[in-house]
Amino acid sequence: MRRKIALLLCLVMLTGLFAGCTGTDTKTQGSSDDITIKFLHKWPNQKDNDYFVSAIAKFEEANPGVKVSMDSAGDEAMKDKIRVVMGTTEQPDVFFSWSGEFAKNFIREGNVLDLTPYLEADPEWRDSIMMAGLEPFMEDGKYYGIPYRINGKFFVYNKKIFEENNLSEPKTWSEFLSVLETIKGTGVAPIGLGNIYPWAACHYITGLNQKCVPEDVRHDDYIRETGEYTDPGYIKALEHFKELNDKGYFQEGVNSTEHNMALEMFYGEKVAMVYVELEEFGDFDEKFEGEWGFFPMPAIEDGAGNQNFLTGAPDGFMVSSRSANPDEAVAFLKFLTTLENSSEMVQTLGWPSPVEGAVNSENSPASLVAGLEAVSKAEGMALWLDTDIDIRISDVYLPALQELLNNDKTPEQIMKEVQEISERIKAE
């Protein structure tokens, strides 16, 4: 009898253990006929997330029988989360991605649905989106992603400091240096740089590489299979950046300052400039209204690259190739990027949309309209270096930039390391 009780107890314990393992899939999914699309985006903060909640509500109302279940992860977390979920059956149907190499990594592994047929079936949709936004999501002439935002990088400056010293927006690198020298003379640090996480310096190098290295060479180098990084332009780019630091144009302690701290220094007028993204313009309008202007990275006089490029990139959404309901997933994506919904997104969130006409003087502050105009006038985009090259190379390149600023490594040493890692990856 006791033995039986013991056996029974064991069984109860065992079932108890495994009860926790099942049942996760049985979350309420509406009626059983409903199709559910899983949607993963990058903006977990309340305000941005709320916008997507309301957009989904509208979509579900217009498309009875289709439900969208939403999940999100922040900027840094997204880079890891997306790689992890793509390997599981939990992978989302519609998911956020940066453009460039980051997206291409998924495309090459066959994880992404080719959207070309959908775009060709609806040329109106295709033509409504700026080419500068679509192009970085292309591979072998096919479209794999729809841009949702298009971003550019600009120097934002304090107008008062510029006026007091009779300075104007610099067009060339030498003008830039003389502006910085003048500001330094007034006792204010010319540029605020928050490089505790090295993506900040990487955004400088993104632009400097593009301006210093011939376009076709850089293009080949950034591709994993053909990367060499032997052009002297790369070293020149690092030297230009190092010069800013050596001459004391950045505030003290760049490697222990966080980007947001640098912004606060700008608002507190402790630094005269910061290098920021278009999507941050809204904050400047809020906290520094009317007292700031912006200019793109100045041209480098003897640079071998195209000087009319702008640093920046679109980011957007892709559809999983393993989605059970690709048509509905694409329909949802199309819904998000209609002119009407994009305009609303611009109005609510203040993000630069790549949909033609979505950003206009009626729904956006003048600074955003002007910024986006600069983006559309640029002859091309220099995509963020850390998402445009193989991640393992950027893993060597980026931390080295901190050591460059600390004078622990020289530009030559850094490029040698980059060449070595590039060789190793090619050999794999």
Partner: protein, 294 residues
């Protein structure tokens, strides 16, 4: 009535837990080792056999040795400060004079350990900031200007800065564990020692320390293992920078697996971490038994 002597029943009772441990701990350890022999991606299908290539690469990678050194530093400094000073503080708070204020100090010292690491990390980023930070401004105020530096921004000081913040956070926790142990020591021991003319220091050395021996061992194990598991502090405060100077084994693993998507490499690092912590645990168990035998 032979329930206690019945081995079959006993086995039956431990079977669920045993199964659980086998399935979720031992099996993954073995599996992890096999996975370190392949090149594979989290979201790709194909696996390529590379043998021990990742282990060779790790052995040649200077970052691995940086990480290992940092972990050892972390464990060593934590033992000195948390276990050493934690015990001293606990003993002081138990002194007759301080006992009246014990509640206050206990709370003050313990408080940091309940704050989320993310918050502590951001807090210390500000404290360590070269121009607006509390630490440098304090040093300037007392005339030690030549000691100021960009604490988290320089390779030489960044790791120590992180370790220091961790001591601040956890010393109170370890102290609390010691307080509980000290309170269990029979008062008669102290009274008779006092009658024999023992001073506060002698009482501490000859009564308190031997009486809380087991707690010292336990706390040492906690801090050493903590030193090798450390991740959040580094990830939040410097993410391994500047350069790779504050990399620890866990961030090294994380970077390889989830950032660079070299899952085989990450598995290899995980296997190495397992071996290191396993050996350390064996050493500690051995010391533990030696002391128990005395």
């Amino acid at each position: 009535m032979k329930l206690y002597g019945n081995k079959k029943t006993a086995l039956l009772f431990i079977a669920p837990a045993l199964l659980f441990v086998l399935l979720f701990i031992y099996y993954p350890i073995v599996q992890n080792f096999f996975m370190s022999l392949y090149r594979w991606k989290a979201f790709g299908e194909d696996r390529i056999w590379v043998g021990l290539q990742y282990y060779r690469r790790i052995a040649q990678d200077p970052v691995f040795y940086t990480a290992l050194t940092n972990n050892f530093l972390y464990a060593l400094i934590s033992i000195v400060f948390q276990v050493g000073f934690g015990l001293v503080i606990a003993a002081i708070l138990e002194e007759t004079f301080f006992r009246r204020f014990q509640g206050f100090f206990r709370t003050v010292f313990f408080m940091p350990s309940v704050i989320s690491i993310t918050v502590v990390g951001l807090l210390f980023q500000l404290i360590y900031h070269p121009s607006i930070g509390l630490l440098n401004n304090f040093l300037k105020a007392i005339g030690l200007e030549n000691l100021t530096r960009a604490w988290l921004g320089e390779s030489g000081s960044a790791m120590y800065a992180i370790i220091a913040s961790s001591q601040w956070q956890y010393i109170g926790y370890i102290m609390l564990l010691f307080l509980v142990a000290i309170q269990k020591i029979p008062k008669e021991l102290y009274e008779s020692a006092e009658m024999d003319g023992a001073g506060a220091f002698q009482r501490f050395i000859h009564i308190t320390v031997p009486q809380v021996k087991e707690t010292i061992i336990m706390n040492s194990i906690i801090t050493v293992i903590g030193g090798f598991k450390v991740f959040d502090e580094v990830y939040v405060m410097t993410a391994g920078g500047p350069g790779r100077s504050t990399e620890v084994l866990a961030t090294f693993l994380y970077r390889s697996g989830f950032r660079n998507d070299e899952m085989g490499m990450a598995s290899a690092i995980a296997s190495i971490i397992f071996v290191i912590t396993f050996v350390l645990t064996l050493v500690q168990l051995y010391i533990n038994r030696k002391i128990a035998e005395e």
